[in-house]
Amino acid sequence: MSEIIEKNNRKEGGRIRRADICLMAFFLLLALGSFAWAAMSRKEGQSLRISCDGEVIEEVALAQRERHDPAGAARGSASETARYCLLLYVNGRASCEWYGDRPDLAAAVSEGNSYNLLAVSGAHVWMEAADCRDQICVHHIPIAGGGESIICLPHKLAVEIVGGADTETPDGMAKVGETEGETGSDNGTFRNGGGYETDG
């Protein structure tokens, strides 16, 4: 009896099988394929869309972006001056205001309101500061490509770069559904040989 069990143990858990390798190869190819597809479907002439709880609250054109240079994407690179967009949440409604310099948060944010401070420099967008619990949006790498986004889940905030000027809708207000295919990523910076990361 125990031999049968032993044999079965080995059969079931024992060693890596061909099917495992196939499965892993399938997933990796799937990821690679969607990378390639996203890279090919990228468009020039993009705009920055900020939405809260599914509702678009701001949409502005971004500077034409050059080929993404990962080194230049480093946060706070001083080569270009950044503009800042302060998003305030008052009674569950979001509002946004633009600043030429980094605003003084202590003065701009009144008691009890939460905020996200977004920075835009050239084609790069990043979250400068936020008072959300997890700070995932603040740690996010700067985004620059079509379809990339920074999401702040605690504030239900979505900052997306959408293909603007040369999409079918001339006013740049492409519907959310149309951006589905543009799951663009940028070259190089991934970022994640091992794929471990914090977050809940």
Partner: protein, 185 residues
């Protein structure tokens, strides 16, 4: 009674792994990727007993085995407890969604009997991430988060493989402990 104590031990171990994971300061700029150490416990619980679902023809997909029940119980408690201990209610909901997807995929993957623990673990890792991505889409009400999908699939595959190999290495020792415990009874 003995089984209850064993499951309690597993729960404690899973909680410690949750804690260890929350201490590791990884940040790759892509949210949602993590090692998933507690999944080690789920895998071990699924495979701890030699396949109990082996009656020919019977209970291929339908039946929920005892291993399934135990793994769901331990993992559910682990998520709720670690959520209250180390994070917040939102994190619990995300973790539950991820765990549900992940467990469903692993349980099915195991029943096909085509995969070893590594393959099942890879399935779990990828589907955990897919589940969380779907919840994130529903919460933020945007499909923009689909941009993360390729990253999350790669991460799920890699972390799943690593954990699967670890679980596979641990399993013989766990079974030996079980046997010795039963003989000593």
């Amino acid at each position: 009674m003995r089984r209850t104590a064993e499951l309690g031990l597993m729960l404690a171990l899973a909680l410690i792994l949750s804690y260890v994971e929350s201490l590791i300061p990884f940040s790759f700029g892509i949210p949602g990727i993590k090692l998933g150490l507690p999944n080690l416990i789920v895998l071990l619980l699924l495979y701890e007993k030699p396949d109990s679902c082996r009656a020919p023809g019977g209970c291929a997909v339908k039946c929920i085995t005892k291993e399934d029940q135990e793994a769901i119980l331990v993992n559910g408690l682990r998520i709720v407890l670690s959520g209250f201990l180390f994070s917040n209610l939102y994190a619990i909901l995300y973790a539950l969604a991820g765990a549900a997807f992940s467990f469903f995929a692993m349980s099915l993957g195991r029943r096909t009997k085509r995969f070893s623990m590594v393959g099942v673990s890879v399935l779990g890792g990828v589907f955990h991430n897919v589940g969380q991505l779907l919840v994130a889409m529903a919460v933020v009400e945007t499909v923009a988060v689909a941009y993360y999908a390729p990253f999350l699939i790669v991460a799920g595959t890699v972390t799943g493989a690593v954990l699967g190999i670890a679980a596979m290495t641990l399993l013989p020792y766990l079974r030996r402990l079980e046997r010795e415990g039963e003989q000593g009874k």
